[in-house]
């Protein structure tokens, strides 16, 4: 971890809320914030002031913000810390972070590098600067572990199964191209190795980039949804999930019918709840029922359902009382169809479950409150850092794309030739692209590249 850099992250709970909070820590924190403020704060000044955040200098669009400055050493991390309180729109917070990072990057001094915080990094810094006691350090360690596992998981699943697969495929393709270029460098004294033709290399890189543009287009459409916490309805088929989905939304979206397995797809809608401090947004998701008997769901749908449940911030576990309910954090147990008479009376009085009828409206208000509470509690837990991760991932792709463009333009220059003119520079550019993709696909060690070479060519005299 590069401890000299200044770090930034969204510190407010995920999803829409009245207020959002950005936090920066490090030597360049004040300078970086000042780059985006209409009225600047003085260096090492301690206090709170109102200012306007310049969202887009070209359009003169600004936003009222509250800036809180905590100079070193008397701050949470022991470094210079600046917090910006602003309206709690996830999109807006993302844009502000990107704007601050873009502004801070002008400084050429590497010590003043500005980047997204690693999981648990604010706390780790606090510890390193002696702002936490030894006892607290144990807790820090556990929190970092929990958060990083989450990060890994998110990196793997990344938004959807398809996106993750796509990122890995792109990574593999680039690794393969790099192997071909490397083969032309390290094994030119070998009989069998024919380096990739520059024209082919160019075409294959351009293909990757075309795909990326397509995906990034889709990605930004979904972005808003992805930044909000997911509340997923789970339960056996015909337990009434779709009816409850419609009732919570207050309108008909899911096709609900008394025939088991009617919901064949994942449905997602924005739901606005009244939270303890104001309105809260979340994504309400209805997935296909878990029906192992019928096998009606095709594999893709099953994967979509599993993915949705995996990334759920809150689960609403629905049942009609015929199964035992389990208690776990982030899960709200709901007994549906409580308006209907049922033979399993004893079980229906489960004190850990909410009794709800989507038809009569009984218990809906209580469920609303329970969901809002569960989402609010998320902010206490150190996990669920989806917005920061997403921005990081987008940045990763943008950086990787730069490397690809550079490699492609060099390949194009040698397009009429049999061999690349600057193979080592093309390799460097492709290597940069893979390095940039690390948050998405992990590290690609040089050995993997060599494996590709050995697998494809007869090398060695």
């Amino acid at each position: 971890m590069d401890t000299a850099a200044t770090i930034i992250a969204i510190s407010s709970p995920p999803g829409s809320a009245v207020h959002g909070l950005l936090r920066l820590s490090g030597d360049a924190a004040m300078e970086a914030v000042n780059n985006c403020l209409e009225s600047k704060i003085a260096s090492k000044w301690r206090g709170t002031c109102h200012s306007r955040f310049i969202i887009d200098p070209a359009l003169h669009s600004t936003l009222p913000v509250l800036v809180m400055s905590f100079p070193s050493p008397h701050s949470y991390t022991g470094e210079d810390v600046v917090e910006i309180k602003c309206p709690g729109n996830p999109d807006l917070l993302e844009r502000m972070i990107n704007r601050i990072i873009a502004g801070g990057a002008h400084s050429s001094d590497s010590k003043n590098n500005l980047r997204h915080a690693e999981p648990g990094e604010f706390t780790a810094r606090a510890y390193w600067h002696g702002r936490l006691t030894l006892n607290q350090a144990e807790g820090v360690a556990a929190a970092i572990a929990a958060r990083s596992d989450e990060q890994l998981e998110t990196a793997c699943l990344l938004l959807s199964q398809a996106f993750g697969n796509w990122a890995r495929q792109s990574g593999d393709e680039i690794t393969q191209l790099l192997a071909l270029v490397e083969a032309g460098i390290d094994f030119t004294d070998q009989e069998d190795v024919v380096a990739i033709k520059p024209a082919d290399l160019y075409e294959r890189i351009v293909d990757i980039q075309k795909q990326w543009q397509q995906w990034l287009g889709q990605y930004s459409v979904n972005e808003h949804h992805e930044a909000l916490p997911w509340v997923v309805l789970t339960g056996a088929p015909n337990v009434g999930k779709s009816t409850l989905f419609n009732a919570l939304l207050g309108r008909t979206r899911a096709v609900s019918s008394p025939i088991a397995g009617t919901t064949r797809d994942v449905l997602a809608e924005t739901l606005v709840l009244s939270g303890p401090t104001g309105p809260l947004s979340c994504i309400l998701v209805d997935v296909a029922g878990w029906d192992k008997r019928t096998g009606q769901l095709d594999a893709e749908m099953q994967i979509a359902a599993t993915t949705a449940v995996d990334r759920a911030a809150v689960q609403i576990a629905c049942s009609t009382g015929d199964v035992q309910m389990t208690q776990s954090p982030g899960v709200i147990n709901v007994l549906t169809k409580c308006d209907q008479a049922d033979v399993n009376q004893p079980l229906r009085r489960d004190k850990h479950a909410l009794m709800v009828s989507a038809i009569t409206g009984t218990g809906l208000a209580a469920l609303n409150v329970a969901i809002a509470e569960a989402i609010t509690n998320l902010s206490v837990s150190p996990t669920r850092t989806a917005p920061g991760l997403m921005s990081k991932h987008r940045q990763a792709l943008a950086d990787a794309s730069k490397g690809l463009t550079e490699a492609a333009s060099m390949a194009l220059m040698s397009a009429q030739q049999r061999q690349l003119d600057h193979a080592e520079l093309v390799a460097a550019a492709l290597g940069d692209a893979l390095t940039a993709m690390q948050p998405l696909i992990g590290q690609v060690p040089p050995d993997d590249v060599l494996d590709h070479v050995f697998a494809s060519f007869c090398v060695g005299k």
Partner: protein, 639 residues
């Protein structure tokens, strides 16, 4: 005092003390004793123990030095005052820069050598060092006291025993540790034809608790030059203006003449479909396929001809380079057909190659398997973690190749000498951004090798920085500081640096059509000689082509080098942060099981090394960092 063996049954006739003892006279052992002798100075004494002093510096396999990635290592050895480049220059019979059509970072100097002249030159250089004693003996045991090496026990050829005492011992066993050679079903103990096998050391290492592995390598048949029909076989010549490996060579070679020896050429023949069929029909007689060799996979980059015909079955032919092994003998090395098939099969298939119908086989190919020490048991200083003062270098660490061995040998000899004088803290590690030798040692201590390790330029993430042309800039000042570099070499380095600086200044001041020469140098369409001409036209002295080439390279890579420099700075913190020995990995809260296991096995020296272990993620490294700080604070609190 405890040791691997019960020593009481043997009476030792004599005892001698040394500052550093080097076991083995191959390319690793030679650089180790040379570097140690440089560092400890004339007052100190270094012992070079070998079974046969006439075999010091022998080229066991390919009669060539350098190549892609390997040539860079030779240049680095030379920049640190080593032997290999000088010996190669003095005995080269064909010099060729590989990859000349590509950028400077991936060009690799290589030469064919007269293998007899090469070992003689190495022996001459070793003999020129008055503080090196060459001792002909076989090592019976390593003497260890409380996890510290104290000496070795030897048996001389007259069967008398001797104990050599020292706080630092460098082991370079090459292919000799419990070595077994295979040609078909025939098995002969020994690491090289006609030579023995080292058994005592292997036992001692096992007794000391080292985890040994077994590797396999092979060598091709040698043919009689006078029985080959050379007509029609295409030739391959060396460079018209060969570049020496060593900057010292032009001033120290006899008469200042480089190349010194008569230059020759290689010829090219090939395998045939008929030959492939014969090999396939006899696979059951190849030890690698019959299961007779119980070694791990052989190297993928240097497959035997058996491997090639199986793995690349669709190919009609494979190249075979016919390389002269010496100017004074008729031995021809068949590069490309390493094999361990029985002699009669070899004889039959060799005659199938164009030009070789009547070729006489001087020596058949064979495979050799040998013991190695899994390299996670050494640190990147080459000192073992288990026994203080015991250093390992070369094939014993699972590498392949003369250059790789020599690079490790140099580091081992250097650190052995520094350890004796200043303890653990005095030892030196070369970084991945400093040298290919650093990349190699870091790879060895952070990865589990699946085959003998060979250098490739693609292993170095800072390849654009680690070039043959700037090896002296990267390493000679360090070599001077460490005492590896002699005054003459230092002077040559300073002169070269001054010439480069002066040329840069000139190029910044001279303009052609409104552009400075230095900015023209960045353009790929401007050649080195064009730039030299511009200077001449301006009435200035024409610079040496190599000086101009260096400047052009720096100019063209400038942007990339800046980016790499930023990346290097970013990582520096982790690379320099040492993991203290008191840290109990099991007690670090939150580490994933896989990460804890890898860290416990490899015992990385720095956080940077830890991060490169398979199974260790960025979060695990953060946890380690936190645990280290916490431990420090706790000890400060209690102390």
């Amino acid at each position: 005092m405890s040791s691997g063996h019960d020593r009481s049954s043997h009476q030792c006739e004599s005892e001698a003390a040394y500052d550093v003892i080097v076991i083995g006279g191959g390319h690793a052992g030679v650089e180790a004793c040379w570097a140690a002798a440089s560092v400890i100075g004339l007052e100190g004494r270094v012992a070079l123990v070998t079974m046969d002093p006439s075999k010091i510096g022998v080229m066991s396999c390919n009669p060539a030095i350098g190549g892609l990635g390997k040539g860079q290592i030779v240049r680095e050895i030379d920049a640190l005052g080593g032997v290999m480049g000088r010996a190669a220059d003095a005995t080269g019979i064909m010099f060729k820069m590989l990859n000349t059509s590509k950028g400077a970072a991936v060009r690799g100097p290589r030469c064919q050598n007269d293998k007899y002249e090469y070992s003689h030159e190495v022996q001459r250089l070793i003999a020129s060092r008055t503080n090196i004693d060459v001792i002909a003996a076989c090592v019976d045991d390593l003497l260890v006291d409380h996890h510290k090496i104290v000496g070795v026990k030897l048996t001389r050829h007259d069967q008398t025993s001797i104990q050599l005492m020292s706080d630092a011992v460098v082991l370079t066993t090459g292919t000799f540790m419990r070595a077994l050679m295979h040609t078909g079903k025939q098995q002969t103990p020994g690491g090289r034809v006609g030579e023995g096998s080292a058994v005592g050391i292997a036992h001692a290492l096992v007794q000391l608790g080292f985890e040994l592995g077994r590797l396999k390598t092979g060598t091709p048949p040698r043919l009689n030059r006078d029985t080959i029909d050379w007509d029609g076989l295409p030739g391959q010549c060396g460079d018209e203006n060969p570049m020496p490996f060593s900057d010292l060579s032009p001033s120290v070679l006899p008469g200042g003449r480089f190349p010194t020896l008569e230059q020759t050429e290689c010829r090219l023949t090939s395998t045939t479909v008929e030959m492939h069929e014969l090999i396939r029909a006899n696979l059951d007689k190849a030890p690698m396929y019959s299961g007779q060799i119980d070694a791990s996979a052989g190297p993928r980059y240097c497959p035997s001809i058996e491997d090639k015909v199986v793995r690349f079955a669709d190919r009609q032919e494979h190249h075979v380079f016919l390389e002269p092994e010496s100017l004074s003998t008729n031995e021809i090395y068949c590069n490309g057909i390493s094999t361990s098939l029985p002699e009669d099969v070899q004889a039959t298939f060799l005659a199938m190659m164009p030009g070789c119908k009547h070729a006489e086989v001087l020596r058949y190919g064979y495979a050799v398997e040998y013991d190695m020490v899994w390299p996670h048991q050494i640190d990147s200083t080459t000192m073992t973690k288990r026994v203080e003062g015991l250093f390992l270098a070369g094939q014993i660490n699972g590498t392949s190749g003369y250059e790789e061995a020599a690079g490790q040998g140099l580091v081992a000899g250097l650190n052995a000498a520094r350890f004796v004088a200043g303890g653990r803290e005095a030892m030196v590690r070369l970084g991945r951004e400093q040298a290919y030798i650093g990349v190699m040692l870091d790879d060895l201590v952070t990865k589990t090798p699946r085959e003998p390790y060979r250098m490739f330029t693609s292993r170095a993430e800072h390849r654009l920085l680690l070039r043959a042309d700037n090896s002296d800039q990267r390493l000679t000042p360090l070599g001077k500081e460490l005492g590896l570099v002699c005054d003459q070499r230092w002077r040559i380095y300073q002169e070269k640096s001054e010439a480069q600086t002066a040329l840069r200044v000139q190029m910044e001041r001279q303009f052609v059509a409104g552009k400075s020469l230095i900015s023209l140098a960045r353009r790929p369409d401007i050649t080195v000689s064009q730039l030299c001409c511009y200077l001449e036209e301006a009435g200035l002295e024409r610079p040496a082509a190599s000086t101009m080439q260096h400047l052009v390279t720096e100019a063209r890579y400038e942007g990339y080098l800046k980016r790499q420099a930023a990346e290097i700075r970013r990582r520096q913190d982790a690379e320099q942060r040492l993991i203290p020995s008191w840290l109990q990995v099991q007690s670090v809260t939150g580490l994933r099981g896989e990460a804890a296991e890898a860290i416990a096995r490899f015992q990385p020296a720095t956080l940077g090394q830890a991060a490169r272990l398979a199974g260790v993620g960025p979060a695990d490294v953060t946890l380690l960092a936190v645990a280290i700080r916490r431990g420090r604070l706790a000890s400060m609190g209690s102390g």
